[in-house]
């Protein structure tokens, strides 16, 4: 964690141990308290405090005008948020699971992401769309999708995905303060898997900045969200075999931090990219392109990718076979190192 604190600056002396979901809640609470135009809206976010409790206690504290239970209506949530955002409010809209975002895809693709462009900046849509994503929690069908590439492909919207409680709060605040729309993806598998000290006060983690979580010389491992703990464990195991890995958490998926990727790969000459999304058209391809463009002559081995397969995210009986595992990542590290 120390590297992150140094990078962001102004770490509060007062911290509190939080899980990732508590940090998200704390980030929203901070922004609701700071600016009364900030709104939280979505299905079950009010009285129930969210199906994961991400918005727990917010309606009690800020009232049902600012923390709003909406109809079950994803396109309606995003569509009305467009109206709220252009007319002076800052909606933080929750889509209950990323797999349910598709009815709103039209709104995000045809309006949220391009209203600024089509009015030459006369109208803009400063809003945050929060969505829990990913497999590994034995959730029902369609609750485990990881389709970030559908959105990183979309011009006009930023996409962030924290892996740690510290980044979760800092990125949420940065997203709320951003003048443009931000899709904020939450690794539900990491919601309560660990705790760390998080500043109680307001701070932000800049959008567009990746983070080197562990320095290493031999192989660069690149991931985000719920795959960060997987590559960290794989790095530990590789260490036991004498392979020294550098671990990068991208944190922001659009715009990519090309510098952090390039610098690391220039040093190691090897890269393994890991994501749980499907292989074809996955964001890993853009990471690979970055390496190709900026570090080609430094490469000692072909870029390796460990990803979900080109199959719909399976029912949970088979999800551990779908998801990249520490073992699969370790094998990729060994193959790359021994190429």
């Amino acid at each position: 964690m120390t590297t992150e604190l140094k990078k962001v600056g102004n770490p509060s002396s007062v911290t509190q141990k939080m899980t990732l979901i508590q940090a998200i809640n704390d980030g929203m609470k901070t922004m609701l308290a700071e600016d009364e135009t900030t709104l939280v809206l979505g299905e079950d976010v009010g009285k129930n405090g969210g199906v994961f409790r991400a918005t727990d206690g917010l309606q009690e504290q800020f009232g049902n005008d600012r923390v709003v239970d909406t109809p079950l209506s994803e396109s309606g949530i995003i569509g009305t948020s467009v109206g709220l955002a252009v007319n002076g409010f800052k909606p933080i809209a929750e889509i209950q699971f990323m797999g349910f975002i598709y009815p709103a895809y039209d709104q995000i693709m045809t309006h949220v992401s391009r209203l600024r462009m089509k009015t030459m900046g006369h109208f803009s849509v400063p809003m945050v769309i929060r969505a829990p994503y990913g497999a590994g929690v034995r959730a029902p069908e369609v609750h485990s999708d990881s389709t970030e590439a559908l959105f990183t492909h979309m011009p006009g919207i930023k996409v962030v995905c924290p892996a740690t409680p510290y980044d979760a709060k800092g990125l949420l605040i940065a997203a709320v303060k951003d003048p443009d729309p931000v899709l904020y993806l939450e690794p539900m598998r990491s919601y309560r898997s660990s705790r760390e000290e998080v500043p109680v006060e307001e701070y932000h983690v800049s959008i567009g900045e990746g983070n080197v979580r562990k320095e290493g010389e031999d192989v660069t491992l690149i991931a985000w969200g719920a795959m960060v703990p997987i590559i960290e464990k794989a790095a530990q195991k590789a260490e036991e075999q004498g392979i020294n890995c550098e671990v990068i958490d991208l944190r922001t998926l659009y715009p990519l931090d090309k510098d952090v990727i390039a610098e690391s790969v220039k040093k190691t000459g090897r890269a393994v990219i890991v994501h749980e999304a499907h292989a074809t058209g996955g964001l890993g391809n853009d990471v690979a392109t970055t390496i190709n463009d900026q570090a080609f002559l430094y490469m000692k081995a072909p870029i390796n990718r460990v990803t979900g397969f080109d199959v719909p995210v399976p029912f949970f009986a088979l999800e551990e076979h779908y998801l990249p595992t520490v073992e699969r990542v370790l094998k990729a590290i060994q193959d790359t190192y021994q190429f």
Partner: protein, 351 residues
């Protein structure tokens, strides 16, 4: 349902006043204002069609036949209100204060055409169907939260009522009682699909019942009926009484767009019995002695001049800047986008 939602009208096809109670309000100045705007947008619309035929603008969707619906509704709005039009509602936009040369620019593929004049809350015309309906609910919700008396009006056609966003938008507006007017122009065709294949409901107005939204069915070719019903809906909205659904029954005289051939799907003679709205208003004006041939002639000339000037202005508008391709996607463009811009500008240098 047609019994429950009879088509309301104030003047009939022959220009006879049906509702005596409006007699005093329909004075000379008032009536001529409607005529002026309807003739003005008709002239714009016909000019746009011609420009498209000459290859001077791109594909264009004419609104001829729908002038009463667009002018009547737009004139009922206040300066702080918000308009959410579709691509066939440039008549309403022009009446509400959109710039005419910029409107031509839009149809000539220029993004400048979406930028409203300062202080005019006019959204870019929605091209996807019905997506603007939740926007109007959201903007109106914001006005309600701010405690103003402003409202939002969403325009949409009959086909839009089959889209999810129509239902989601109406439901949100109903649940949060937003000051929104859902203004439907039922022109009876969604490109080639007639209303009876679009829905198995007799009216669009009845769809308001499902959402607890007051609704009304009006003769969309009667500009006065459109105006006064929109005004009532606006008053309800401003007084905190929530949204209204208006079904204005009208008729698209021509093609869906300049790329469309309606003879492929419309029976011969369909619609020939429809008295188009400008003729109807002219008959009314002649019946009630508002028509002054010379004055009208002068008005026509002024309008035709205005449209010609707008075309000239559109055509002498500076060339589109390549930088604009990149500069308005984000408030602060990310490095990779700036790199794409720089590299492309370098590539075309000297061309």
């Amino acid at each position: 349902m047609e019994d429950k939602f009879p088509i309301k009208r104030i003047i009939d096809d022959q220009g006879n006043l049906l509702e005596e109670s409006f007699k005093d309000q329909l004075n000379d100045q008032f009536v001529k204002r409607f005529y002026y705007h309807m003739y003005r947008i008709r002239t714009f619309d016909r000019k746009a069609k011609n420009l498209q035929r000459q290859g001077r603008i791109g594909t264009y969707p004419p609104f001829e036949g729908q002038e009463a619906a667009q002018v009547g509704s737009a004139l009922a709005l206040g300066p702080g209100d918000w308009m959410f039009p579709t691509y066939r509602d440039h008549g309403a936009m022009l009446t509400f204060g959109a710039d005419m040369s910029r409107t031509f620019l839009y149809w000539n593929g220029r993004v400048e055409g979406c930028v409203p004049p300062d202080g005019k809350n006019i959204f870019p015309a929605a091209v996807p169907i019905a997506t603007q309906i939740p926007h109007a609910a959201g903007v109106a919700w914001a006005e309600k939260k701010k405690g103003t008396r402003n409202l939002a009006i969403a325009y949409f056609g009959d086909g839009a009522t089959s889209e999810g966003d129509f239902h989601e938008g109406l439901n949100f507006a109903s649940v949060f009682q937003t000051p929104t007017i859902f203004f439907n122009q039922n022109n009876r065709y969604a490109i080639s699909v007639p209303i009876e294949k679009q829905m198995n409901s007799e009216t669009i107005a009845q769809k308001g019942i499902a959402y607890g939204i007051p609704s009304v069915r009006i003769d969309g070719n009667d500009c006065f009926s459109v105006y006064f019903e929109t005004l009532s809906a606006a008053e309800r909205a401003r007084n905190g009484d929530g949204p209204t659904l208006i079904e204005a029954v009208t008729w698209r005289t021509g093609a869906h767009t300049t790329a469309d051939d309606p003879t492929k799907y419309r029976p011969d003679n369909q619609g020939i019995d429809v008295v188009e709205p400008i003729i109807r208003l002219e008959r009314f004006m002649k019946n009630y002695e508002f028509w002054d041939e010379k004055e009208m002639e002068e008005m026509h000339v002024l309008i035709e001049d205005e449209v010609e000037r707008a075309v000239q202005e559109m055509e002498k508008y500076p060339k589109a800047k390549v930088e604009d391709l990149f500069d308005h996607v984000f408030a602060n463009p990310p490095q990779q986008l700036l790199a794409q811009k720089e590299s492309y500008l370098e590539h075309i240098k000297g061309e």
